[in-house]
Structures are given as C-alpha cells and as structure tokens.
C-alpha cells in the first residue's frame, strides 16, 4: 500500500535513500542539494540505516569515495549540484569507464559563473558526455520514483554504468508537494541487493581496477562503454514496466502530453513541464492543437522514439534550460534536431533557450512560444532558429 505524504523533492530523495539503505554515502554540501546529506545524517544518527556515511572534504572526494566503494562491491551513492558536479568532472568519467554503478542525486542548479544558486540544467548538461545515465523528473513524485528505479538500471549486468537522477533545484527540491511513498519493505524488494561478480574484496581472486590502458585496447573499452549505454534503453523500459506492475505508476523515455494530433509541440525537460501542461490545456480549449514532449531519459538519448513522437508535428520548439555556448543552440536542441533528421517530413524546429540561472517561466511565457510556433506553421517561415527567451530587454525578444 502506498503512503500519502507531503514532502519536498530533497526529502523524497533522502527517503528513497533511507529505504534502500545503500552501503556507502559520501557527500559534500552545496545549495540546493544540501538537505539530502543533512536528512541522511539524521537517519545515520538515529540508526535508521546501516550505511557508512563519509563526510568528505570536497565533491571530487565524494565521487572518488564512491569509486573506491563501488569497486569494493558496495552500493555507493552521492548527491550534489552545480559547482559540486563540475568539481567531479574528471572522476565522473573515471566512474563510468570503470563501469561502476554509482547513483548521484543531482539537484540541478546553474553552473558558476557568475555564481548563482538558482535552477537551470547547465550542471548536468555539462556532464552529458561523461558516460552517465541521466534521468530527469518533473516533480518530487517522479524524483522519488526515478530514484527507486535507478539502481536496477545502472547495476544491470548489460549496463553497469553510473546514473544521475536529476530534479530542478528549489522548484522541485524545496517545494513541498503531495507524494505517494512506497513501504520500506516493498522498496527494498523492488530494488534488490547489489552483488557484483567482481570486487576488490570478498572474492576468490584479487581485482585490479583503473589500468593505464594502452592504444591496442583502450578504444575497445570505450566501445564497450558505448554499447552499454545503448543496452540501457531496454533495461530502462523493463524496469519501468516492473515499476508500473509493482507500484502502478507508468514511466518511459519521455512523456507525451496531448501529442496524438498535435500540430505544434514543445520538447523540454523537468519542472517546466507542469507549466507547459497548463498552457496546453488553455490552448486546447481554444482549439489549438498543442502538445508537449517531456524528456525523462536524456542519456541514453531516445532518438528513434522521439522522432516517432514528433513525426506528424508541424512546428517544434525545443526548450533548452541550459546554454551550450555552441553558437547554434543548446544541447537538447542538438539532440532533438538530429533525431528528426531521418524523418521524411521533419517538423520545422527552433531552439528556445530559457530559464537560465532561475529566470522565471510562467504559463503566459510558454503561450508566447506556442503562438510563435503557430505563426511558423502558418507562414512556413522559421525565422531565427536560436532564441534566448525571457530577457529583461523586450528589444531582443523574437517571440
């Protein structure tokens, strides 16, 4: 039986951690993820978990501690945001290439600089090529549910890759909302135990981890890693199916909202989906065929599936909540546009970079984007493809 509660996103993640009782938790405080290690410290202080809690001196060391712990055959977890994630950059790649299924609760916050504590996705997007699985949440329920599914995906023998469970800083992490929690025993049963075949300790043979990998071998190892990322697609769907069977809530690579006959659609990630859904409803009431695709799984990127979801749409705005500084659009735009390249009649597509460093995005703002798409659909003229939306100066606004 599910339990009705009211929790913030951070407490939801901490609760999931307590229920799973990981072997090692190493973390360092940074807004807005700080509450997670704080809640967890209390669980340790109250004897509610058997976890070894390592209060490291930096995020580089929290990831390194997780690397050591996971190589020793333990389930290792951490939590961070923004500069903390950036500080881990080097060792994120090490975790992935060593094929260590570490779980990182990422509470998305903009990357310094300039320093700013509010939400956008530049931190985890900056790590998108590090070889980590990335799953994003719209709200605290999804953050909790994604966390419960994380380890079964990342620890699966055909995957063995670390995983980031992302939620929007403050908007999701600090807002208290209704949530359905599952019972401790049911969670433990669903997640299962971690028993890797190889480990530094407790096996018949010693193990050597992290070689100097020379030219004749290193590329093959990287290809194996790439294959594992592809394998994760099936595992993600299998775990989601079992999650639905067990707890009744349905998940996929992305959520399609009113997409069945949509002519104009947004593709976006995270909490803005709630705002966009309200806007879709408003527009639908006026007869506008508006739809929304909310990306849940960004790594591996569900390329073919997304193309199928968008194939009948006339005009698409990809909403990037991070600036890639590529000079031609954000990371979600690059992936989405590439996904649609093979469609016989791809939709017209623009990139709307928005919400940077916590800039607010309301229903009226989203409506402007849909209206712009309608104009593109009618005139066939796409206009500027790469737009920064929601700036102080109206002059620069295209929408």
């Amino acid at each position: 039986m599910s339990i009705r509660e009211r929790l913030s996103g951070n407490e939801a993640i901490a609760t999931a951690m307590r229920q799973i009782d990981p072997d090692v938790f190493a973390a360092f405080p940074i807004t807005p993820s700080t509450e997670i290690p704080q809640y967890f410290a209390q669980y340790v202080a109250d004897g509610k978990v058997g976890t070894e809690y390592v209060t490291v001196e930096s995020e580089h060391s929290s990831m390194s501690t997780c690397i050591g712990a996971a190589a020793a055959g333990a389930r290792a977890v951490t939590a961070t945001s923004s500069a903390g994630l950036a500080f881990m950059y080097e060792v994120l790649y090490v975790a992935a290439s060593s094929r260590l299924p570490i779980t990182l609760a990422c509470v998305n916050r903009t990357l310094t600089g300039p320093i700013n504590i509010n939400n956008d996705h530049s931190d985890s997007m900056g790590a998108r090529d590090a070889g980590w699985l990335q799953i994003y949440a719209e709200n605290n329920q999804e953050a909790y549910d994604n966390y419960l599914q994380a380890m079964r995906i990342s620890e699966h023998p055909s995957v063995r890759l670390p995983i980031m469970i992302c939620q929007d800083g403050f908007i999701t992490s600090h807002a208290v909302e209704n949530i359905l929690l599952e019972e401790d025993a049911a969670v433990k049963k669903f997640v299962g135990e971690y028993r890797p075949e190889h480990a530094l300790v407790g096996r018949d043979h010693p193990l050597a981890v992290g070689p100097y990998d020379s030219c004749p071998f290193c590329m093959e190892h990287k290809v194996m890693q790439a294959e594992a990322m592809k394998n994760a697609k099936k595992v993600i769907l299998d775990v989601a199916a079992d999650f639905e069977k067990t707890f009744g809530r349905k998940y996929g690579f992305f959520e399609e909202y009113r997409m069945e006959d949509a002519e104009v659609a947004l593709v976006l990630i995270g909490s803005t989906a709630g705002t966009a859904k309200a806007c879709v409803e408003k527009l639908r009431a006026q007869g506008v065929k508006a739809g929304l695709v909310k990306i849940r799984v960004f790594r591996p990127f569900p390329m073919e599936e997304l193309a199928q979801a968008l194939k009948n749409v006339k005009a698409v705005a990809v909403m990037d909540k991070s600036e890639g500084y590529s000079g031609c659009g954000g990371p979600l735009f690059a992936e989405t546009r590439s996904a649609c390249y093979d469609l016989p009649d791809p939709p017209k597509m623009i990139d709307v970079v928005y919400g940077l460093a916590g800039r607010d995005c309301a229903v009226e703002d989203i409506e402007k984007v849909y209206r712009h798409l309608l104009r593109i659909m009618e005139t066939g003229d796409v206009g500027p493809r790469y737009i920064h939306f929601g700036q102080r100066s109206n002059q620069q606004e295209v929408l």
Binding site: D23, V24, A26, G50, T51, E52, V54, T55, V56, E57, S58, H60, S61, S62, S64, T65, C66, I67, G68, A69, A70, A71, A72, G73, A74, A76, E90, V91, V94, S98, L200, V201, G202, P206, L207, A208, V209, G210, P211, Y212, D213, S214, F217, C218
Partner: protein, 311 residues
C-alpha cells in the same frame, strides 16, 4: 619479533617483477618493501595515485600487483582508499564480507604534497583505517621531472631549469611529514632505504598495523630525475640520512622519536655532490647555494631535535 632480512626476503613477492619502472627506481623498492611488511596471509587493497608507479605497474592487460589494486586519478587516491575502507566496514556490518583487509595508499610526491594534498588531509582527518605511503622522488617524474613542492631548493627541474638568471628551484622543500604529524593521527614516520631495510620495514609494518590513519614518507630516489647512476642508490640514501637532509623519525600518538642520529652529521654537499641536479651549485661563484642549503638543513634538524627532546 626481531627483524630478519633473510626471512623477510624469502617471503613470496607481492609486487611482481616485470613492471616497467626504470632500473634502480626507488618507487619499486617502496612497493616491494610495503607488501613485504604485510604479515603473510593478510589481505590488502592497494590504492595508487597517477604517476610513474601507476603507469609502470598496471598496464592493461598486465599488473604487477598480487593484491587487489585500484588507480583512478592523480589527486584522489586517499579518497578512493577511504571509499574502499568504508565499503568494507558497511559490508562487514551487513554480514556480506567476512574477511579483514588492510588499506594502503601509495602516491608520488606530486600526488601527495601537491595535487592530492586536500584528499590526503581529508582522509586522515576523518580517521579512515588506512596507511598512506608517499614515495618521495622530489619531482613530477612521470611527466618529465617538473618541480613539485617537495623538490629541494636549487634542484634543476624542467620547470625550474638552471640558466643565466636561475640556479634551479627558488623555494625550500615543503616539510610534509611535519604537516602530517600536525593532523594528530596515531602514526607518522619518515624513512628511506638504509642498510638491510630494517628502518623501512619496521615503520611500514607499524603503520599498516596501527589502527586508524597513518602516514609514512619514504625518500625514494629517481636516478633519471636526480641524475646519478642507478648503482649509487644506497649511497644516496645513506648520505641523505647522514647529512640530516632526510632524518629518520617517527611520531607515535604525538610523541616525536628520532630513529637514528648520525654520530657525525656530514655536510650537505656530500649528499648534493652525488647528483647531477645540483651540479651548478658546485660551480665557482655559486658556493653560497651550498651554504644556504646547509643553513636550511641545520635549522630543520635543530627543530626536529627540539621536538624529540620535548616529547
């Protein structure tokens, strides 16, 4: 049990030959000595920082390590070791691991004094049950003899080259052993390869079998970087100790103890003369560099004696 060199050397080798360290490299001697200091049958996990040792001892698909071993980066070996140790504690507590392990970290001076210092300091302060061994060859050898904070003043390194306006490194060597003692951990020691390895062996053994964090700094000369021919190694180590450039001592639970006091402290030039990296110091007109080096050694030695007599 009294140290018996023959008996120790007859133990099965846990750092296998076939690694690719240069002939006469101090790092390899450190590794053989550390693994020999483990009691037979005791299991260990070795964590290693990036450096000459790592790239020479674990090249896929070969490893020189008979024990479990993990390398992940240059600056994080202590944190990785702390993670392994924490994992073992958790797995033991949860009944999923029955064996006991010793946790050993090995890093070069770059990975210890410099880029890995934060991670080392953090792990020691948190009190993980682990030993950190620094093989101190006084420069970044793996990348081609660049200066580190451990490089002594006046040494010629590729980022502190001798030139018309330069006499090598400008700064004195960082005194890391003293800094580690200031962490108030149960065991800190400084050693090198002397005679039959008794000093090194006993300190390594004590460090490994002291509960809680321990740090051992081992002077591990590098024939390539210090510019001497490999067979001079024993003499270099002996001179380092006899000149008090590298005193042998321990800090046990805060108590400072000299392991060896030279009967007659030799002048520092006896140590410097053996190495090409100090060659320029012996040129006419540069005599002051040797005097300055002597002053520094005298001051540090007096400080150490004072600490030991106060303890």
């Amino acid at each position: 049990m009294a140290y018996n060199h023959k008996v120790e050397l007859s133990k099965p080798e846990r750092f296998a030959p076939g690694h690719r360290l240069c002939a006469g490299c101090g790092a390899g001697i450190v590794c053989r000595g550390i693994t020999r200091a483990l009691d037979e049958g005791d299991k260990a996990v070795i964590c290693n920082a990036t450096g000459c040792l790592e790239v020479s001892s674990f090249l896929y698909p070969y490893t020189a390590w008979e024990d479990s071993y993990i390398h992940s980066a240059f600056e994080n070996a202590s944190a990785v070791c702390g993670g392994v140790e924490a994992a073992c504690k958790a797995l033991q507590k949860k009944g999923r691991l029955n064996e006991e392990y010793k946790f050993i970290t090995i890093g070069g001076d770059g990975g210890t004094y410099d880029i890995g210092f934060q991670s080392l300091s953090g792990a020691m302060e948190r009190g993980h049950d682990m030993v950190y061994f620094c093989y101190d060859n006084e420069a970044y050898m793996n990348t081609g003899i660049q200066r580190s904070s451990s490089t002594p003043r006046f040494a010629n390194a590729t980022t502190t080259p001798v030139g018309t306006e330069s006499l090598g490194k400008k700064q004195e060597k960082k005194d890391l052993t003293v800094i580690m003692a200031a962490h108030n951990i149960p065991y800190v020691a400084q050693t090198t390869f002397i005679g039959n390895f008794k000093d090194f062996h006993e300190k390594a053994h004590r460090a490994i079998y002291t509960p809680g964090p321990a740090f051992v700094n081992v002077m591990a000369p590098c024939p390539r970087g210090w510019q001497y021919s490999a067979e001079l190694l024993p003499q270099i180590c002996k001179m380092a100790v006899e000149t008090c450039v590298w005193p042998l001592y321990e800090v046990v639970e805060g108590k400072w103890m000299l392991s060896y006091e030279p009967k007659k402290k030799l002048p520092v030039e006896e140590f410097m003369r053996l190495q090409g990296r100090f060659k320029h110091c012996f040129k006419p007109g540069n005599e002051w560099t040797i005097e300055a080096a002597q002053d520094y050694v005298d001051r540090k030695w007096a400080e150490l004696l004072a600490r030991c007599s106060q303890s």
